[in-house]
Amino acid sequence: MSGDPHLTDPTLATLESPPMVSFPAESAIAGQAVRVAWRKIAWHKVLLFAASLFLFTLAITLMKEGARELATLLDSHSAVDNALNSLGFGWLLAYLVMSGSPVAASALTFFDAGIIDQVGAYTMITGSRLGASFIVLFIGFLYVLRGRGKAESLGIGLLSLIVTGTTYVFALGFGYGLLTTGLLDGVQLQTGALLNSATDLVFDPLASVLLNLLPRWSLFLVGLGIILLSFGLFDRCMPQFTLKKSQLGRMSRLVYRPWVMFLLGGSITLVSMSVSVSLGILVPLSARGFVRRENLIPYIMGANITTFVDTLLAAVLLRNPAAFTVVLVEMVSIALVSAVILATFYHRYERSLLSAVGWLTMRDRNLGYFMVAIFLVPVILMLF
């Protein structure tokens, strides 16, 4: 006998015992959390990303096959046989294709096929970036034609083009030195047997099917078209940025340290793989679509480095270590030049660039001269 009244009197026990409450098991709670998370995943964007990656890999495979045939065709007729005309060629091709990444990938496939040498591939990729930075300017032009003000529509495009032009020109000589001395030759990314097997198993048969239907040289153009499609799909799977109330959303009001914006531009472009997309993201990121002048230039400088991530992937897929080195040299030389500018004469550089943009948008004639120059220069380079 315990002496506890609750135990001796069953009536009391019934009336006074606490109500029965059942708690779900921990595993059930975890399962619910997984289901909630599962529903939040944007599966259509995951599929888009997978499709984009698939198409990108297929495109590189086709371009590689096609470039080898082009090598024999272009050998005697090629106007692309030195660093200068490769620079001009990449620049003009990027204008034509309205994108830099496919041209950069083309440069690597041309190098892989022996059409151009390593230095030629390096300068052609540089040219592709110079041509690609025209795209944002072109979009701005369309808005000018629709009645928007020149400065508002063209400012960011002009700035992007001038930042790219100045940093890449400074980096050209430095990169040439890195390439010819072979300092970065030992830095390689191994693809691994698994990736090689997967690409051989999946993509080589697809390339064979197309080979039976089309001339080999045309696979290069088909690959170019597919790579453009893959980038289009990739852009559609980018998340929508509406960070207006976050710290990032206060970009329009606050002045961040140049290094912070440099890293932000690099980080965002690591995901978007496109400078024009990274610049476009600034519009929804800031409350009114405005960005402080102080924040913009280092952001573009950072974006210009990690925009090569897809080209690096292309080099890995080509399984060409020398091609990988070309892209790495490109990234390292731009990064070093940008770091030197940020650490030493950044404010003077910043003011010069913005004065240049101000001068260009001041009069139609100034802008006209500039536009003629950016078309004439690559044409002249092609004549070398």
């Binding site: 701005g140 369309l142 000018v144 508002e152 519009v283 679509g289 405005f290 402080r292 002048r293 910043e350």
Partner: protein, 281 residues
């Protein structure tokens, strides 16, 4: 208000003494002249610095009728200059610290975070970095960022103006250094609009300016709200020059935590590059 004037005996310290004394005279404040020595053996040197500074202060702290307006106290402390200035300010409950600075600091001086910068970072009260010419305070440039609205700086200026015998002219400046992030962005007109239009339309910048103007309204000062477009630091300095302002008033870079590392210290850049006194609130 109690004003603490720090001097090391150099030419730029003399400027701090003269500026502090002039401000003390204009606002009927008490002033304390402080010098710091590294070891006790330098007491005689400290006394010489103090005596010279007191002489300068009395010269500048004398009213037009020859009466010494601001009483002068003196202190000598032992230790690191920046730390001791801040400790004295805390212990004595001063309302303002006045320091001098290198007129054109070289790279090494900038990298080593001189005394002035350390005082500004740690001070419990506003700091006046004395530069340029000493003279009666007439024309003030108040720089508004919108970080707090109305700003602490406006509050301090209001208190200061209330103590003065003459009317101040205050330009309330906000610099819009923004450009459009893309042609899709709306409301482009704000990027070129003058202060009056921004205030009328109630844009964020207009609201900040309105808030400052309202806060300063009771000072009786002549107020000029203004917006400039360009780099923040460049435009502030250009406005100071064009407006012939003899004092720049800016908010201190007091972000906490990780924001301190993210945001650029424009106050420091203005204080270094300005050729006239800067009051950091």
């Amino acid at each position: 208000m109690k004003i603490l004037i720090a001097t090391g005996g150099s030419a730029h310290s003399d400027l701090a003494v003269c500026s502090g004394a002039e401000l003390a005279r204009a606002t009927n404040s008490r002033m304390t002249i402080l010098t710091i020595i590294k070891d006790a053996e330098r007491r005689a040197e400290a006394q010489a610095i103090i005596d010279r500074a007191v002489g300068l202060a009395r010269l500048n702290g004398t009213a037009g009728n020859g009466r010494q307006v601001a009483p002068v106290e003196t202190r000598v402390r032992l230790g690191h200059p920046a730390e001791e200035i801040v400790h004295e300010a805390m212990e004595g409950s001063y309302g303002l610290i006045v320091v001098g600075t290198w007129p054109k600091p070289n790279l090494l001086q900038r990298l080593l975070a001189p005394t002035t910068e350390r005082v500004v970072m740690q001070a419990p009260c506003p700091v006046l970095v004395a530069k340029g010419l000493v003279g009666p305070l007439r024309n003030v440039l108040l720089c508004v960022s919108g970080a707090d609205s109305p700003s602490r700086a406006a509050g301090f200026l209001t208190d200061m103006a209330a103590r003065m015998n003459h009317r101040l002219e205050i330009t309330v400046l906000h610099v819009m250094s923004q450009i459009s992030a893309g042609p899709e962005a709306e409301e482009h007109w704000q990027l070129a609009a003058p202060a009056e239009q921004l205030m009328y339309e109630g844009t964020p910048e207009g609201q900040w300016l309105r808030s400052e103007v309202d806060a300063l309204g009771r000072t009786g000062a002549l107020l000029h709200p203004k917006v400039r477009h360009g780099f923040v630091v460049d435009e502030v300095l250009m406005e100071a020059q064009e407006g012939d302002c003899n004092l720049l008033v800016v908010g201190a870079h007091r972000q906490a935590g990780w924001q301190r590392f993210l945001l650029d210290d424009l106050t420091h850049q203005i204080a270094v590059r300005a050729d006239r006194s800067v009051l950091i609130v």
